[in-house]
Amino acid sequence: MGFWDVTKNLLSGFEQTCLIFALTLVLALPLGLVIAFGSMSKFKPLSYLTKVFVWIIRGVPLMLQVMIVFYVPGFLFGTPLLPRFWAVIAAFVINYACYFSEIYRGGIESISKSQYEAGEVLGLTKSQIFFKIVLLQVIKRILAPMSNEIITLVKDTALARIILVAEIIKEAENFIAYGLVWPLFYTAVFYLIFVGVLTLLFGFFEKKLDYFKA
């Protein structure tokens, strides 16, 4: 099997990798904000509950969580609740939303109270203060930790292989049956290019927000 055949196969796996990445990101980014508000809630039971939830999700290996989401409903009900791919998405979204929520919380709490007060005395509503004044300052402050987390997500997609989702590593492993090991190492190139693009993108956003200090 030649180089191009391998590349073509790996690309189809890479498509799955990208899909896991994109879906996780799109769903976990807003869900993280909801969890962040939960853990910052003045209603103590909600805040404690959220914090325990975040502790559990961050405290258990993601690989295990993927297996739990996929296999445990099977043990309980005799049939898996979700197809493999969606089990991966569910586990990833919950896991990453929890990590994001802590970054959001740190960012939101780092904005000084006086910014809120300045908005209040100008007669703005709470939501206007958050969306028009606080949010962009938060985004600027959390850009670096978020880029770290998002780059980690690119490589964590490889964990989908544990329940046999055909992402790029799984595709590469298939070649081992034909005596080819190099495709497995070749996958690194795909990850590197992906992360390279992301790095440039985050650099661009950081530059975009360079015009103010917060």
């Binding site: 910014q115 300045a118 005395v121 703005l124």
Partner: protein, 262 residues
Amino acid sequence: MALLEVFGITKSFGKTKVLKGINFSLEKGNVLSIIGSSGSGKTTLLRCLNFLETPDTGIICVDGEKIFDASTAKKLKESEIRQNRLRFGLVFQSFNLFPQYNVLDNLTLAPKLRINEKNLSPEEKKQELEHITQHALELLNRVGLSDKADFYPCQLSGGQQQRVAIARALALSPDILCFDEPTSALDPELTGEVLKVIKDLKSENTTMIVVTHEMDFARNVSDTIMFMADGVIEEMGTPEQIFDHPQSPKTHAFLNKSFENF
């Protein structure tokens, strides 16, 4: 009738009584300076007037209209509080400009958001928006910063930032403009430009309450001086009365200490 009347304001934080019954009134166009040592309750009083703190008891009236009554305060809706607080403007010690907006947008942000809440036809809305921008540019001219409209706060000196903050507070045309130690965060050479703006506002008959440590300024610009100590108004009167003939020993001691430092 006085523009502002304040009756029996008290405020505690936990067990600490910060305000122990504040009564005063302020005439339209007059300037009231509040002096006193740290912890005397000056800033808390100002924050109560601006609804950043809710007084435990007391009544606040502006223009004869009761805008706050502690006995009914819990029933107030957020929209009513927002409406009432616009009677007052507040300039903070630390400016608190919005860093991601340029100077002009800092001024127009709140007025423009208020336009959206009114039900206006697109034509009316466009006119209102133009009016807001026009008004903001005039205000910038008044604080001497016409040429800085598209600068960002981080590009300005502290004195310039505080002048923008004053213009921002004026953009909503409050009845009473409050200042919370407006020059305390500034380098000494920058306080002058801010104090000058406040003086100019006085000559335009702006009603103002200024919490300050600048004794000379308070003396020059104020119609009334309020000296606060331990949560009460220890003494109140014209600048001459307070600075030249203080009646209370506490006032005397405070003034002696303040002028010793120079």
